[in-house]
């Protein structure tokens, strides 16, 4: 036991400051005030891999490490869409996952937010659209914020989540 405690003490607190939100990542801005009023400062996130190469998942995992310490910001990954405020979706959306993604979206209580992650989630990426790929996440469910990158860094993914839950400067814009 003392070895464990010694190692914990030796490492200490390594958490870095969170990045700022980034308006450039916002895709649509509707109902922000209502959503923020309900969600307050705590947020639950359900991650959905809708067809990715698993590269984005590796960087999403990193958000839970002590350096990014996403739980320290009041943001927590949950196991069920029924418990989620925000869906973090990687793509491209495979046609074999299309229905599961829609059902997961429908199972998430309103109001809800969607962040599309990675080049493939934003545009379909290198895979594009074909008999087996429906392309970008927005082709299947409404997307609020999209963060490109292959994969995007944990800081960028975190900035995208923070953008989704911050008041929009484009308040009242139509969905795109």
């Amino acid at each position: 036991m003392w070895k464990t405690l010694h190692q914990i003490a030796r490492v200490g607190i390594v958490t870095e400051p969170a990045p700022d939100s980034d308006e450039a990542l916002r895709v649509r801005a509707t109902l922000q005030k209502e959503i923020l009023a309900i969600m307050g400062r705590a947020l639950t996130v359900r991650q959905i891999d809708a067809g990715s190469c698993n590269g984005c998942e590796l960087e999403i995992h990193a958000l839970n490490n002590p350096v990014y310490n996403i739980e320290g910001l009041g943001i927590r990954f949950v196991a069920s869409p029924r418990h989620a405020d925000l869906l973090l979706v990687t793509g491209p959306v495979s046609r074999n996952m299309e229905l599961a993604l829609k059902r997961t979206y429908d199972a998430t209580p309103d109001p809800k937010l969607v962040v599309a992650v990675g080049d493939c989630g934003c545009t379909g990426g290198i895979f594009g659209e074909n008999y087996a790929s429906a392309g970008r996440v927005a082709n299947v469910i409404p997307v609020d914020v999209a963060v490109p990158g292959c994969p995007p860094t944990p800081q960028r993914i975190l900035a995208a989540i923070l953008t989704a839950i911050s008041a929009s400067s484009k308040q009242g814009d139509q969905a795109t």
Partner: protein, 509 residues
């Protein structure tokens, strides 16, 4: 003369990785060749098919030879003889080949594998007919799972969307109480048409898609692709390039083992392990970013060499990070080994005995934890591995504890290799122009962190890709996971599953 020698004697070298040879077989001799090679200890690395003209391929590694059997079929309706009784791992590969090429085996299991309800059975993704116009998906796939009957038996369906940051797939557990009688996997959810996509790219650009077959194995796939491509170009990358590729491959192994060793601690209820290892992984990725320009090396291995020569100070910092990581990992290993709760969950969980591992063809680090000592870095080394004398890690217990132990050993060895590679790195350019590929088929094969990772690349006119088949070792290991869980309790499944950590994307393509 041993029968398998006669196949090697009548085969001809193929471009690509060392020891790769091809031989044309007939419908009659296809199984004879597979049986002779299996009798000599051959293991099936991959099985795939071409739609047009119809050809079935099987790549079988026998000692220091990778033998590719090529069976040309008279037409697309003629089934080729199944190899599932010789190599059980062939079965799902044969089903997937039928889904995307229309070329069928004689195996009795004709259920689709990667095709769900999203496109019609008549459509052949690698055929010439245009894709059907698909509207939004409205119906779920009806798949006939094998049922277990009896008093008190019930089913637990899990997925495709899993309760974590994981790739999608479906697991159907048949259980009595907490005890698992049977697990049947249903995969294919992340099938996104990769093999069709390859045929739309120029061969000199295909490495980018290869790297994205399974993001956690980007170096393994892009290196295997480049081996095949450079083989067809008749090009040998400069020595410094191959050494830097090895540095990248070992770095990928380090990153994955660090991540999984932490996750294994977490799945055993020891969150300290996740916190410690995920910090080490983050520091490792940052050092990689500083040295090679990327955290995950998706665009590092390129035709002709590598994308970036590390600056001397960044390379020195990477070596320093490797030393520190080795030191701390050894300390945490001691803590894991002495932790009663961790030992209780690890030891005896998800056991795959060596005989079963051999019979089912378990590969990679999971195979080495079940007494299957093959490691391509030693057995069939591409440059520079012949000069590196990799120490293989082997255990025989075959449980979660053994897979964790092999990962700890391989982590330490890869960290040592990083230092050795950095110290002995040859001078010169880190890339040279590969030139234009000739028409033909090349094969690349490397020992990725998960196991043997293969790319078969057929180049057509004007440097186009006629066919490209990437093969992830998860194909071999997914069916073994179904056996590993038998008799264990449902709550141990996440731990057992993580101890293998198989790729869905690399498998589903």
């Amino acid at each position: 003369m041993a029968p398998h020698r006669s196949w090697i004697d009548r085969s001809a070298p193929l471009p690509g990785c060392p020891g790769v040879r091809g031989v044309d077989v007939t419908r009659e001799s296809w199984r004879r060749a597979a049986l002779d090679l299996a009798a000599a200890g051959g293991r099936l690395i991959s099985l795939w098919a071409d739609a047009d003209p119809p050809v079935a391929h099987a790549a079988i590694q026998c000692d220091a030879t990778l033998m590719v059997l090529q069976l040309s079929l008279p037409d697309a309706r003629t089934a080729y003889p199944s190899l599932a009784d010789v190599h059980p791992v062939a079965q799902r590969m044969q089903r997937a080949a039928a889904d995307i090429t229309g070329i069928r085996s004689t195996d009795e299991d004709t259920r689709p594998w990667v095709r769900h309800a999203a496109w019609p059975a008549e459509y052949v993704p690698l055929g010439r007919a245009p894709a059907p116009v698909s509207g939004p998906q409205t119906v779920a796939d009806a798949y006939s799972f094998r049922r277990v009957a009896g008093d008190g038996v019930h089913e637990i369906p899990v997925g495709p969307v899993h309760a974590g940051i994981i790739e999608p797939g479906h697991f159907r557990f048949s259980v009595v109480g907490e005890k698992v009688l049977k697990l049947e996997e249903r995969l294919g959810y992340v099938h996104k048409g990769i093999e069709q996509r390859f045929t739309q790219l120029a061969a000199r650009d295909g490495h980018r898609l290869a790297a994205r077959v399974s993001g956690d194995s980007a170096v393994a796939f892009s290196w295997a692709y480049c081996q095949a491509f450079e083989g067809l170009c008749g090009h040998a990358p400069p020595p410094r390039a191959t050494w830097l590729r090895a540095l990248a491959l070992e770095s990928e192994r380090i990153a994955n083992h660090l991540g999984d060793l932490g996750a294994l601690g977490n799945d055993a209820g020891f969150a300290f392990g996740l916190a410690q290892f995920s910090r080490l992984k983050e520091l490792w990725l940052r050092a990689l970013h500083a040295a090679l320009g990327q955290r995950y090396l998706l665009d590092y291995v390129v035709p002709g060499g590598v994308a970036r020569d590390p600056a001397p100070d960044a390379l020195a910092a990477l070596v320093e990070r490797a030393r520190d990581t080795a030191h701390i990992a050894a300390r945490i290993r001691e803590i894991y080994d002495e932790h009663e709760g961790v030992r209780d969950r690890f030891v005896g969980a998800g056991t795959v005995a060596p005989e079963l591992a051999k019979q089912l063809g378990l590969v990679g680090f999971a195979g080495r934890a079940s007494g299957q000592d093959q490691d391509l870095r030693v057995d069939l080394p591409c440059a520079p591995y012949a000069e590196l004398q990799v120490k293989r890690a082997v255990r025989v217990e075959g449980d979660v504890a053994a897979r964790a132990a092999v990962r700890f050993d391989e982590l330490a060895e890869s960290l040592r290799l990083v230092e050795e590679i950095a110290t002995r790195l040859p001078a010169g350019a880190c890339a040279s122009a590969a030139g234009e590929p000739l028409q033909g088929t090349g094969i690349g094969l490397v020992e990725g962190w998960r196991g043997p990772t293969m790319v078969a690349l057929a180049v057509g006119p004007q440097g186009s890709i006629r066919r490209c088949h990437p093969h992830d070792p998860s194909w071999q290991n997914w069916p073994v996971l179904e056996h590993a869980i038998i008799g264990n309790i449902v709550p141990d499944f996440p731990l057992i599953n993580k101890s293998f950590n198989l790729s869905y994307s690399g498998h589903d393509l």
